[in-house]
């Protein structure tokens, strides 16, 4: 399990709910303490630095004979892109000559998959449906995919369609909830612009939230902690700045699936950390959860 930088430090409920889901589905997660940042932001100032950090992580997983499950879309993109680059023996040799200084080597055996992709491809919607205990069909949900979940497309070898993605729709449907389509569905959250220009990044959030305010949805569901932080956190800033009343609750996909699978909202899924009151949440779900046996 590749936690990345932001999930284990700022969006703990994503890690918590993902661990719970994996446990329920028999996905064994191994924590590798030597993992470091995936390097995506470092590519801005040194492409080589970004590639080396990514390669280091791949080498660490390979050393243990493991594949990588990611939570963050950006880590997924960065690691998948590195795998693609390292297919070139010249690049691999150059990288390995540098990895030598930290006693590592990468042969090209590791696969990287985002947790949602594993749920979709390796577990499959049918098996997920069998695990659903609570019907969430009263919910209307806006999916947000996250750019690096599917791009650069060449690194994902035909998985889903970046311009017309459907996998998260299917994963939401598993819970009985209805995934809506909307005009700005593929609009980026702006997370990677935020450290350089907060105003620009916030404007991207505003465009999507303005669109979603017209849609009568119960939740925006994301599958990346950066997208989560942008949509959850920046709605507040926008309210102050533009005197608006944006209040769209944001969930991470494993929290939604977990709720449908009967997970404890607080202890297994950390819903209370999303700034949503438990009462509001259960009301929205339209079911009385107090009698659910786990």
């Amino acid at each position: 399990m590749f936690l990345g930088c932001t999930t284990p430090t700022q969006v703990l409920q994503y890690e918590l709910s993902s661990r719970w889901i994996c446990k329920q589905l028999g996905i064994e997660l191994v924590d590798i303490e030597d993992f470091v940042c995936c390097g995506i932001n470092q590519s801005n100032i040194s492409i080589e630095a970004g590639l080396l950090l990514a390669s280091m992580n791949l080498a660490l997983a390979e050393k243990r004979g493991l594949d990588i499950l990611t939570l963050c879309a950006a880590c997924t993109g960065q690691l998948a892109e590195a795998i693609e680059k390292l297919e070139d023996p010249k690049i691999r040799d150059r990288v390995n000559s540098k990895l030598k200084t930290v006693d590592l080597r990468y042969e090209g055996k590791v696969r990287v998959k985002h947790i949602s992709r594993i749920l979709y491809e390796d577990i499959g919607v049918d098996r997920l449906k069998e695990k659903v205990k609570i019907d969430l069909s009263r919910l209307r949900i806006a999916p947000h995919y996250g750019c690096h979940y599917l791009k650069p497309a060449s690194a994902f070898k035909g998985f889903d369609d970046p311009d017309n993605p459907k996998t998260l729709h299917h994963l939401i449907s598993v819970t009985g909830a209805y995934p809506i389509d909307y005009e700005t569905i593929n609009l980026c959250c702006g997370g990677k612009s935020f450290p350089v220009s907060e105003d620009i990044a916030r404007s991207l959030v505003k465009r999507k939230i303005d669109n979603l305010m017209l849609k009568e949805i119960d939740f925006l569901v994301v599958q990346c902690q950066t997208c989560y932080l942008m949509y959850r956190g920046q709605q507040k800033s926008l309210n102050q700045k533009f005197n608006r009343n944006y209040n769209i609750p944001v969930l991470l996909y494993p929290q939604l699936l977990g709720a449908a699978m009967g997970g404890d909202l607080r202890n297994d899924l950390g819903i209370h950390l999303n700034g949503i009151s438990m009462d509001d949440f259960t009301k929205k779900l339209g079911v009385d959860l107090t009698h659910i046996k786990r």
Binding site: L187, S193, R207
Partner: protein, 165 residues
């Protein structure tokens, strides 16, 4: 702008990086700009224009531009390019060159320092440790030593912060 102010070597220097090889294939159709979410809200940021500026040799105008750092890395530009030009990668090359000339934004420099210290871009505070314990999440043991060694090989530790350059 005068012709004599243009640097014809600039595009050759940019294209000498493997990631930017495809620049010559750009016929300036503007599909990249049309699909760019940053351009949509901030007109001055324009991938097609930047590609053209590189080709013309507008070295200073490109490398000193604050706009090149605004990219949100959504990859739409390269995803939709009919010529398969990887503008996203070309932009990274431009940013790398700009960084060497002292234009790197403070935030990216700070993140790099953090990685060399902690292995990740954030510090692991006592408060965080307590939060993780309360949720029964495993303790984090990130360490920046390895990352520091490997990053130093790229010279990224020598890149100057725009604020201090």
């Amino acid at each position: 702008m005068k012709l004599s102010e243009l640097d014809p070597e600039f595009k050759i220097e940019v294209m000498s990086h493997k990631e930017a090889e495809g620049l010559n294939l750009c016929f300036a159709c503007g599909t990249c700009t049309a699909g760019c979410p940053i351009h949509e809200i901030f007109y001055e940021y324009d991938p097609r224009k930047l590609a053209k500026m590189v080709k013309l040799g507008m070295r200073e105008e490109v490398l000193a531009s604050p706009y090149i750092w605004y990219c949100t890395t959504c990859h739409n530009c390269e995803q939709r390019c009919p010529q398969n030009v990887k503008f996203f990668d070309i932009l990274n090359v431009l940013k790398n060159m700009a960084a060497k000339e002292g234009y790197a934004p403070h935030s990216w420099i700070e993140q790099t320092k953090q990685i060399m210290k902690n292995g990740i871009i954030f510090s692991i505070t006592e408060e965080l440790k307590e939060k993780r314990r309360a949720l029964s999440l495993p303790a984090l043991k990130y360490d920046g030593e390895r990352a520091k060694k490997i990053l130093k090989l790229t010279g990224i530790d020598k890149v100057k912060d725009q604020r201090k350059a």
